[in-house]
């Protein structure tokens, strides 16, 4: 690391603007596995689904207080959601129910952009690398213990084939997947969005929306570690423009808690309560809401009408355009600004022809992108998202600090890279 970058980081920590261009060339150093470092991999994933830009970790869950454990590989590392969720078919252990104060079994309708995850909550001792949380509530997706309630709407992501993984390790900036809203008594005029259900029997209709105290909700497991509990770093090496069949990386726990997770040489973006910052794309007056998400497999932004980049024509899904397909790879840049409007950083990225990328046997791509919802942001608050998915992470060490957790650079949430 150069002295110039050290100075930049120092300035940023004081909250002053530090512009610059970052192209993710891949000179980052990847931490070696140790107590607070888990190996992660971008590979094709489970045999039944060929994953593109899927980031996976291996986790261990145990029946609480026992040595009855199971190690589960290919769990999707997702910095866009909160909590550990395992697909029921991948779990052979019998984990005890997670109950409310009345002893009723709790279940959840987890909300994701691609759909919902329905299933009961169970308790497990959770281990990854040398870190551990005992008696952690996790969701067992699609366990058929309870029927899906009517108010749980969207696509049902209930199987390994639906998800392309054995589970989701949600490591975003939130402490819980709901928070204080879910502690309110449910009802039509309630703050409670109805994500959690208390189930009195397995019959249809016997799971009722429930108020669940924050301490009983599905948490970000990192925040419950005995140490290294203020955030994570995702470290992935840079890859060639044509992609790569396999990328090894590190998931580092803790920010500035050890020698291997120092917060230096990075630009720090403070985030709002929803984990977002502002992203401005060339020439557009209204910025989009930006977020960094390892669980998104591309960089998703704006639409063809705005960017002028054509989408692919996919014969299998005639009416659906998920990816951009420019004739030649194009180099772009967008300006990210923190939630306080004090720090800006330009990020360069490339968009290649997705069909050309997919015609290879590679599964990791740093230039895969597609359209997000088309309209530009509304001055009255409805906005579009600029989704910095996994391509953003290649060649970078990206820090995610959890809300309310202390670091030497201040309290989270923030993103730094």
């Amino acid at each position: 690391m150069s002295d110039q970058r050290r100075i930049c980081a120092f300035v940023v920590l004081l909250g002053t603007a530090c512009g610059g261009s970052s192209s993710g060339l891949g000179h980052n150093i990847i931490a070696t596995p140790t107590d607070n470092v888990a190996e992660v991999v971008v590979d094709s994933g489970l045999p039944e689904v060929r994953n593109l830009n899927g980031l996976f970790a291996t986790v261990t869950v145990c029946v609480p207080g026992t040595s009855e454990c199971q190690t589960i590989e290919h769990v999707l590392v997702d910095t866009g959601s909160t909590g550990l969720r395992l697909i029921s078919s991948a779990l052979t252990l019998s984990l005890p129910a997670w109950t409310d104060d009345n002893g009723l079994a709790l279940a959840e309708c987890g909300q994701f952009v691609s759909g919902f995850t329905w299933g009961s909550l169970r308790s497990a001792d959770f281990r990854i690398a040398g870190e551990q949380v005992n008696d952690l509530p996790i969701q067992i997706i699609g366990d058929a213990a309870f029927p899906v309630p009517n108010d749980c709407t969207g696509s049902n992501v209930g199987t390994t084939a639906d998800l392309g993984a054995n589970g989701i390790l949600g490591l975003d900036t939130s402490l819980q997947d709901c928070g204080s809203d879910c502690t309110a008594a449910p009802g039509a005029r309630s703050l409670n969005p109805g994500m959690y259900y208390a189930c009195s029997s397995t019959k249809v209709g016997d799971c009722q929306a429930a108020a669940v105290p924050v301490a009983k909700q599905v948490p970000n497991p990192i925040a419950l570690f005995g140490q290294d509990n203020n955030g994570i770093i995702v470290e992935l090496s840079g890859i060639p423009a044509g992609g790569s069949p396999l990328v090894n990386g590190a998931l580092v726990f803790g920010i500035d808690t050890r020698e291997n997770n120092k917060l230096s040489g990075v630009t720090l973006l403070r985030l709002d309560g929803y984990g977002t910052f502002m992203t401005s794309y060339s020439g557009l007056s209204n910025p989009a809401l930006g977020f960094a998400d390892t669980g998104s497999n591309g960089i998703y932004f704006l639409g063809s009408a705005t960017t002028g980049i054509p989408t692919c024509v996919d014969a299998r899904y005639q009416f659906i355009s998920d990816f951009y397909c420019p004739r030649n790879t194009i180099n772009l840049s967008a300006r990210n600004q923190d939630a306080l409007g004090m720090v800006t950083v330009n990020v360069g990225f490339s968009i290649a022809n997705a069909e050309a990328l997919f015609s290879s046997l590679n599964v990791a791509f740093n230039n895969l992108g597609g359209p997000s919802s088309a309209p530009s942001s509304d001055p009255n608050g409805m906005g579009t998202y600029f989704d910095w998915g996994l391509p953003f992470y290649f060649g970078r060490n990206v820090f995610t600090a959890i809300e309310g957790q202390s670091t030497p650079a201040g309290v989270g949430p923030f993103l730094a890279f």
């Binding site: 689904v49 830009n53 866009g80 909160t82 987890g110 909300q111 994701f112 952009v113 691609s114 108010d151 709407t153 969207g154 696509s155 049902n156 084939a161 639906d162 998800l163 392309g164 949600g170 975003d172 997947d177 809203d181 039509a188 005029r189 309630s190 703050l191 409670n192 969005p193 109805g194 929803y274 984990g275 977002t276 809401l289 977020f291 998400d293 998104s296 497999n297 591309g298 998703y300 009408a305 299998r316 899904y317 009416f319 659906i320 355009s321 998920d322 597609g370 359209p371 997000s372 919802s373 088309a374 309209p375 530009s376 509304d378 608050g381 409805m382 906005g383 998202y385 989704d387 998915g389």
Partner: protein, 158 residues
């Protein structure tokens, strides 16, 4: 009160009896769904939606509704009194069955046929749906391209 006044707008040209009959129909738990009547805007939702704002234009009326959870919903009503577009943003997604109405199954069939790990873009001949964001920050919009009034750009639906 604004929402009640506008809810009656489609019935202005009906006779008193007709209006009463229409109100009787509306008294059932009707849904303010895509393609449905505007008269039930804000009702029939799992979470009651309070009208926050109404913006009138030559081609349509936009009802901005707010759920107690803070999620905002926009419903675009054509001059024929039908909802031709809906959009939403907030920490929690609204009930899509309520919001998409008879188009809910079409959406499920289109979305369920593939694995999505990013925004959802569904473009069918009679239905366009976009969804983006992440957990605790959802955005989405759905519209009926054949029913979007002439002179209104779909970029205005947001």
């Amino acid at each position: 009160m604004q929402n009640i006044r506008s809810a009656l707008t489609p019935f202005r040209r009906l006779s008193v009896l007709g209006a009463l009959f229409a109100l009787f129909l509306c008294a059932r738990p009707a849904r303010a769904a895509l393609g449905g009547d505007a008269s039930s805007v804000g009702t029939g939702q799992t979470h009651l939606l309070a009208s926050a704002r109404i913006v009138s234009a030559a081609t349509h009326t936009m009802h901005e509704l707010a759920a107690p959870t803070g999620t905002k919903v926009h419903e675009y009503v054509g001059n024929d009194g039908k909802v031709f577009a809906v959009s939403w943003q907030g920490a929690f997604r609204p009930n899509l069955r309520d919001l998409l109405g008879s188009y809910y199954e079409t959406y499920l069939n289109a979305a369920g046929s593939r694995m999505v790990r990013g925004p959802l873009n569904i473009v069918l001949p009679g239905l366009v749906i976009h969804m983006s964001g992440h957990q605790r920050a959802f955005y989405g919009r759905a519209y009926l391209p054949d029913r979007v009034p002439q002179g209104l750009s779909t970029d205005e639906i947001r």
